[in-house]
Amino acid sequence: MSAPPVTTPTSRPVGAAAPAREARRGGRRSWRVATAVIAALVVIPVALVASSVLAPDREVWRFLWQTGLARMVGATVVLMVGVVVGTLVLGGGLAWLVAAHRFPGRRAFSWLLVLPMAVPSYVLAFVAVYLLDAPGPVQAAARSLLGLDIRIAPRGMVLAVLVMSVALYPYVYLLARAALSEHAAVTYGAARTLGLGPARAAWRVVLPLARPSLAAGGALVAMETLTDFATIQYFNVETVSVAVYQVWNGMFDRAAASQLAAVVLVFAVTVIAIERTLRGRARYDQRGGAGPRIEPVALHGWSRWAASGVCALVVGVGFVVPALRLLGWSSVSVLGGGGGGFDPRYITYLGNSVLVAAVAAALCVAAAAVVVNAVRLTPDRATRGLARLTTIGYAVPGPVVAIGMLLVLVGLDAALDVVGIDVGATLITGSLLGLVAAYVIRFLAPAANSLEASLDKVTPAMTMSALTLGAPPRRVVRRIHLPLIRSGVGVGLVLVAVDALKELPIMLLLRPFGFSTLAVWVYELASESLWDIVGLPALTIVAVATVPVVVLFRSTLRVTAGRGGA
């Protein structure tokens, strides 16, 4: 660089160009206000449900007690404990098996084991019921092989726990894998050099290290279990969430439904409290890939094939068998053979599903974009706190969100009546407003997470540079943040859209009269055992849900290649 040509600019007169002070402050305030509004949208429905505990209605409680509340609470506890234990054993065990051992197919199973995530539990449940039912292939084979007249109805708690464990273990598997790839390797190595065998080192060092992740995974599973009331109905298991659905859908009893939803909320708060206690002061992250990995131990003899067999069995039961079964049924309906042929309602319901998923995804990502940008641009404590509140919906069971949203709509309706606008019952029972709002509450967290992860690549210094160069916050977001977080926006849209497409409990509680989606249709068809028709819509849901699973986890779960390993 030679001596540069001397230009002698003078400083711009600062005062002249400065806009009024209110406007200057306002640039930040509108972001903060928007975050506060989103936080209020998320919190108010939950708060309304919670407040119904504070004002218990004795009549309602007497009625609930008579209809077996104690039994339902008991069933809820048993189901949750059973599924959490089942997923911890399955997810934690498989994660350890894949992370620390070498056996045929390890690389493929590493990510194939996430695939069951693509099969919603209510789909897995009815496929299981079909296969295990008296006329189904399993019992038929048993009868013909053994010559015995076996006729068992596949019902009950045990089966419900098993099916939900297979459907939900990937949550634990993913978190456990992340924990194992982060800090376990070095400590595990240290324990081995101190004379501990692989199993003892795993038990005494790796398990305590993975505890926060396992606790988080268990809590996630517990919330999903608490949310569900479709899956377990196939097995005649009655939990509190089932009761919420029945009380609302069968009797439209708002008071009873909200009191029951409050009971569900108590369960959720208990789960969070337990998770916090187990996590202790440790923190967990979902970062994959970084850091040294555990050097896997080669398995020998029968144990290597046993390892492959276990993995194959889980992937088979959790994904391959249901997918093939659905494929079989849908080929029947599409090719017009045997059963009912192609049902034209499929097109309508597919359209409805796409509409709801697209609107939910767009709104969630837009809201998440406001929140993460507000945190970046106005890094004060209040904005941070509000931002954290906006993501609590993911930890609130679906029935609570749905009933809370109903209470909001009822209040809104009453308020409109006061000002003289009578919309009848349409607001509560005839509009998509509540449904979409509930989806935003429930799915804002995954959208916010993917945007936040993306925004991490935009360093604070970049934001500050843009601001000091005179760009107001809106321009910083438009010119710098948004172009750089495009991938996060894409991931967020896909995640929310798929979640919304699969979602059933909220849809069942809040859908307008006459409005149905693929998920609802699948639920109804399966309840009536219309297998040939249920195949195609269920397969559609599974196929769509497979996309993000493959795209997101195939690369992050990559294990070290064949022998040696880096």
Binding site: S2, P5, T7, G15, R24, R25, T459, T468, G470, L484
Partner: protein, 364 residues
Amino acid sequence: MMPTTDAPVVELDEVTKRYGVVSALDRVSIAARRGELLAVVGPSGCGKTTLLQIIAGLTDVDAGRVTVSGRAVAGAGAWVPPEHRHVGIVFQEHALFPHLTVADNVGFGLPRAADRRVRCAEALGLVALSHLAGRYPHELSGGEQQRVALARALAPRPAVVLLDEPFSSLDANLRGRLRQQTVEVLRASDATAIFVTHDRQEALSIGDRVAVLHDGALEQIDRPQAVFHAPRTRFVATFIGEADLLAGQVRDGLAHTVVGALPVTGVEGDGPVDVMVRPHEVVVEVAGDGNATVGHHEFRGAYVLHTLVLDTGDELRCDVPHTRTLDQGARVRVRVDTSHRLAAFPAAGRRAVTASPTGPASRD
């Protein structure tokens, strides 16, 4: 040195910033004059970066006032957000926008006016990078990125440019050359600049004035020569260059020490003092009846830093040209060059001294 006028472009008045119970800045008052290059130096965690963030508007103050070009921008109820302060900033990691070309990066802060392209080209010419206007940041070397960041900050003609350790991410060979070029560019554009660094050599060599921060407090602000030769505090003495403190008694303006009577400044009246002695001021000659023994030594290239153990037990470091060697254990006579007055501190504050054996490391 460029002439500077006395009108302060940036003025911090008793600025305090706390994070919880920790004071990042404690009643700091600093003013940067028009056209001046003010170097702010201190060890990590001394509050330098907080200082820049407060001036740029990325952090608010807890107490005190900040003015930029005479306008109150923070404190006492005033608040101007960063985008309206006309303060440019160059970050350590350069923070170029990765999805914009060099020209778009430099033009980002310019209003959409007819002369936007002209000004953009002008700023790029200033850092001699006109030929890279169409490149993307990832296609540039570290030094080029740093120059683009400087051009981007200068393009809107800010009232002041803040530089936050802009060279520390570059390797040592490049750093010295780029430092000189940056100073030339800042001078050529007549910019007022505040330059934050933890490197005392950097601060001394490019600052018109040097402000030394320690634990959030301003220890001294003065010309480099004054900060080096007449440090106001023990911390400045030992941070800004290698220094040993020798105990002595002042009588009639002379400090009587184990190495003789030394002319001192910085103390009033008689009494016990500590006299600051820098290694280059120590003169040593081999003498069997001397007053010290040669301790260990450290090869520094052009000279060798020897540690001398005085018979009183005090240690004194001494620069010796590399052509001379002093054997360990040899007896020597130690004198101190008395051609100028040495800084002295009243001995009452002695326990506050934490003069590390080699002083804070310089990165150069």
